[in-house]
Symmetry: C2
């Protein structure tokens, strides 16, 4: 089945360009990224901290089927309501290090919106590791859940 | 005169690798990056905020010869004393956006230390704009001042 979340990974580059269109008003798409109770449902993570503001920070945690906990965290460089979040992201206790993420939220219509995500990695090799982990399919599935969770809130 | 701060800018890449060796103990080099009163002297900026900790943030301001103020700010993703600072950096009120900086501080001897800086930009074009602004020469001069200011504190 074709993925709705499109990932553009140019060979040898240390970045990814990701887009996804949703059948959701912009307001609701943005909410799904900033309200912990919605985010936890579609990301499947526990939100330990989420300071939705410039110079804030965030921390999530997942538990795998074996019961091991995995942490993710970062800082929020910029936060513009319903427009843009620029943040860092790191999978804790790995050697992958920090990456910089530019999330842009775009209104396409009253009930249509688009996420444009640009991720910049420390190296092309680290980016490729994320892709090998199945990041593309994982993100598509997560966004499918986001659509389902958020459309109930319309 | 040959620059002591070396910048490696590979064609078409969205990153810079910068190294500089100092005739300073590691402790003093690190201090020059985290103590506002030292930093202000060699960077020529006013330190409005500098939270030296993981998930902290920072804000500097310079005044140009015409009296115009220029702001620089970002968030601190990681902070390990005398080892590493990972932070974002942005020149405010420009279209250059955020960049991600990895600063690593290395001991070479009792009185010798090295800064390894890796900057990752949103695009190669933005990186090249910084280089065209004279960033390479500017950083070399600033590091020369750092050496002079910090060696007085030995």
């Amino acid at each position: 089945m074709e993925q709705k979340t499109k990932i553009n990974a140019e060979d040898g580059k240390q970045e990814l360009l990701i887009t996804r269109e949703f059948d959701l008003p912009l307001e609701l798409l943005f909410k799904a990224y900033v309200e912990p109770e919605i985010l936890e449902q579609w990301m499947g993570t526990k939100v330990l901290k989420l300071e939705n503001k410039k110079h804030g920070s965030w921390q999530f945690e997942t538990t795998d089927p074996q019961g091991n906990k995995h942490g993710f965290s970062g800082v929020i460089h910029e936060f513009i309501d319903q427009q843009r979040i620029t943040r860092t992201f790191e999978m804790e206790n790995t050697s992958l290090g920090a990456q910089l993420e530019f999330l842009e939220f775009e209104k396409l219509g009253d009930d249509r919106s688009k996420l444009n995500m640009h991720i910049v990695y420390r190296s092309a090799a680290i980016r490729d590791q994320y892709l090998q982990f199945g990041m593309s399919r994982g993100m598509d599935l997560a966004h499918n859940r986001l659509q389902k969770v958020a459309e109930k809130l319309k």
